[in-house]
């Protein structure tokens, strides 16, 4: 049986409506979603359940997406975890996205089909 964490997606988004739609979509596809409203909450959640993939906004209160990625890297090293793929959903310029250390940038507004394709690419399809 596959452990849930293999398909665990951490969604970090300060706008509740976007977070709600994306998480419902992710769950419908068979993945498992954790939703955090900002980077601080996301880090706390990740320390409890290490995600398989992180879908994060760049501009967020309290801790930006860029800072979250850096913190997750540090956490991965100290906790012996595999650094999850980072998908950055944002309106920032491509250069800034690159600096954030994301694997993929999903410019806002994005299509949910793009999210599905990325999940499948990085995590495979759940059974």
């Amino acid at each position: 049986m596959e452990t849930p964490e293999r398909f665990l997606v951490l969604i970090v988004e300060d706008e509740g409506s976007i977070a709600g739609v994306v998480s419902a979509f992710v769950e419908d596809l068979g993945y498992h979603a954790m939703v955090a409203p900002h980077g601080v909450a996301a880090l706390e959640m990740a320390r409890v359940r290490w995600p398989a993939l992180v879908l994060t906004d760049y501009m967020m209160p309290l801790m930006s997406g860029s800072r979250l990625v850096a913190e997750l890297r540090a956490e991965a090293v100290s906790g012996g975890h595999t650094m999850p793929p980072i998908i950055l959903m944002s309106a920032v310029s491509p250069g800034l996205s690159e600096l954030a250390g994301a694997d993929v940038v999903l410019p806002k507004p994005f299509d949910l089909a793009q999210v599905e394709a990325l999940l499948e690419r990085f995590l495979g399809r759940p059974a």
Binding site: E15, I18, M59, M60, P61, A91, S93, L96, P109
Partner: protein, 515 residues
């Protein structure tokens, strides 16, 4: 937050020190209205009804601050995703994608709002601190106010946020959907250091926008309602012309103090010897002259002569027209043999600047701003305005008739301060008169000189006549003079005939137009 200072001590006394404590808004002319800019660390409220442009104005300031290197946070309490807001802002020229993310961030307060006002205040301040923001926009205070209906709690929220951010060195701009003069809004207003009111009304079939600097703690804003334009550039404010003069703000420094005695300066001629002789050499410098006449009598032709005479004398000239298009003016000049001179004057370095506005929903303060800017840029010494009626219409359309006189006084003062000699065309109602009539309208009272042109029926023929009705700082020759408009030389004023009002033996040549 800011301590109270004696009023009028903003950009006035101690100006150098005061100026460094102000930051530019990035909105054209708004700094002039505010008395130099936004006080650093101030709590600014931008209040106005839906659609008045609060979000655009606040974000235009945010982008301007980011361009200056400030760390900017835009926090939205509106019920729309920030991506939608960014899509809306992308349509404006002030939008710069490269600033998004760093140093300009757009965040939603939605998560905190769900937890109450206190959590919102705490979250907002923590976010601003983490971002090291020194310019913060909170867009949609209505969303914050909706969390707790108690107005005192809302006031406390504003006070806590404003005080803390100010202590951190941040200037805070909050947009609020409210009528700034609604008494229900007063508890919140007392907390603010700066209150900017945006007006947005439907007048007949037109939308009209305005901006009011209601309060600047420690400063002296330009009073009253100022014109506000919203277009692809974003927001542009045009200060009300009448209030720009006394304070000197919003008016660029005039070259020198114009100490010359206008009476000692060479006259502004028409290069029409008979007419210039009637005026004892021409128009006194720095005066305003009303060129009044019935329709089709030749006022614009005479105005063209005046403009070209200035060019001939080496003076830059501005021709502001609302009636005829550039092509029509060119054709008119061509018709009377002045086409080549006119086109040469309009060419680069020719000295003549033609400004043209369609007489359609004109904004008088925008017209004045553009005109004064061109006068300053070109150093023009002559201005032709064709005609006064369109400008009067523009002023009266947007306000009561009472404003027209004040606007005219302000405009004439601005022109005088720049050493400009003005010729303004205005129409009198009667097309043909058997005697000269002239009503001393308010406009005529304000003009220092009056030239009157009319068509007179005499012995079964129509004749064009002119008279110098009034010159305030000069002698002039009274009496009627016939003039004609020729195909080769434009206007020609005939010498006085020995018998007045009959015209004597010398008849105009058959090439004269209209005969």
């Amino acid at each position: 937050m800011m301590s109270d200072q004696p009023p009028g001590q903003g950009a006035g006394a101690g100006e150098d020190q005061g100026a460094s404590l102000l930051e530019p808004t990035g909105v054209p002319h708004l700094d002039d209205i505010l008395g130099g800019g936004l006080p650093r660390g101030a709590l600014v409220i931008v209040a106005g009804p839906p659609g008045s442009g609060k979000t655009t104005l606040a974000n235009q300031m945010a982008f301007a601050a980011a361009e200056r290197g400030r760390r900017v946070l835009v926090l939205s309490a509106l019920s729309e995703p920030t991506s939608k807001l960014l899509d809306h802002l992308r349509g404006f020229r002030f939008f710069n994608q490269n600033l998004i993310g760093d140093p300009l961030q757009f965040l939603s307060l939605e998560h905190f709002l769900r937890q109450g006002l206190e959590a919102t205040s705490t979250g907002l301040l923590a976010t601003a601190k983490a971002a090291r923001a020194d310019f913060v926009v909170l867009d949609g205070f209505r969303g914050v106010r909706g969390v707790d209906p108690d107005p005192q709690r809302a006031r406390q929220f504003l006070y806590d946020v404003g005080t803390t951010l100010s202590l951190q060195g941040a200037t805070t701009v909050i947009t609020s959907e409210a009528d700034a003069r609604d008494p229900a809004f007063y508890p919140e207003l007392t907390t603010a250091d700066v209150i900017i009111g945006l007006h947005f009304t439907l007048e007949n079939v037109r939308h009209e926008r305005g901006l009011e600097a209601i309060k600047i703690r420690g400063g002296g804003p330009l009073p009253g309602l100022h014109s506000l334009i919203l277009n692809a550039e974003g927001m542009t404010v045009y200060p009300r012309l009448e209030v720009r003069l006394p304070s000197g703000r919003g008016m660029p420094p005039v070259a020198g103090d114009r100490p010359e005695d206008p009476g000692r300066l060479p006259r502004a001629t028409f290069d029409l010897p008979e007419l210039d002789a009637l005026l004892t050499g021409g128009l006194t410098r720095h005066t305003s002259t009303l060129l009044a006449g019935s329709p089709g009598v030749g006022k614009t032709h005479l105005a063209v002569h005046f403009a070209l005479a200035g060019i001939h004398a080496g003076e830059p000239v501005v021709f502001l027209g609302f009636r005829e298009t550039a092509a029509q003016l060119d054709y008119r000049a061509e018709l009377v043999g002045l086409g080549e001179a006119w086109r040469a004057a309009l060419a680069s370095r020719g000295g003549l600047t033609l400004l043209r506005d369609d007489p359609l929903e004109l904004d008088p303060d925008q017209v004045a701003d553009r005109l004064l800017g061109v006068l300053d840029r070109t150093g023009a010494q002559r201005l032709v305005l064709d005609s006064l009626a369109e400008l009067e219409e523009a002023v009266c359309e947007r306000s009561t008739g009472k404003r027209w006189r004040n606007y005219l006084v302000a405009l004439l003062a601005a022109l005088r301060a720049r050493g400009v000699t003005l010729l303004v065309v205005t129409e009198t109602p009667a097309a043909i008169a058997t005697d000269l009539r002239f009503a001393a309208e308010a406009t005529a009272v304000l003009a220092e000189n009056v030239l009157l042109l009319q068509q007179i029926a005499e012995h079964g023929q129509l004749r064009r006549v002119l008279a110098v009705v009034k010159t305030r700082f000069s002698a002039h020759t009274a009496g009627l003079r016939e003039f004609v408009i020729t195909e080769s030389h434009g206007v020609r004023v005939w010498p006085a005939s020995p018998d007045h009002p009959s015209w004597g033996a010398e008849s105009p040549p058959s090439t004269a137009l209209g005969r």
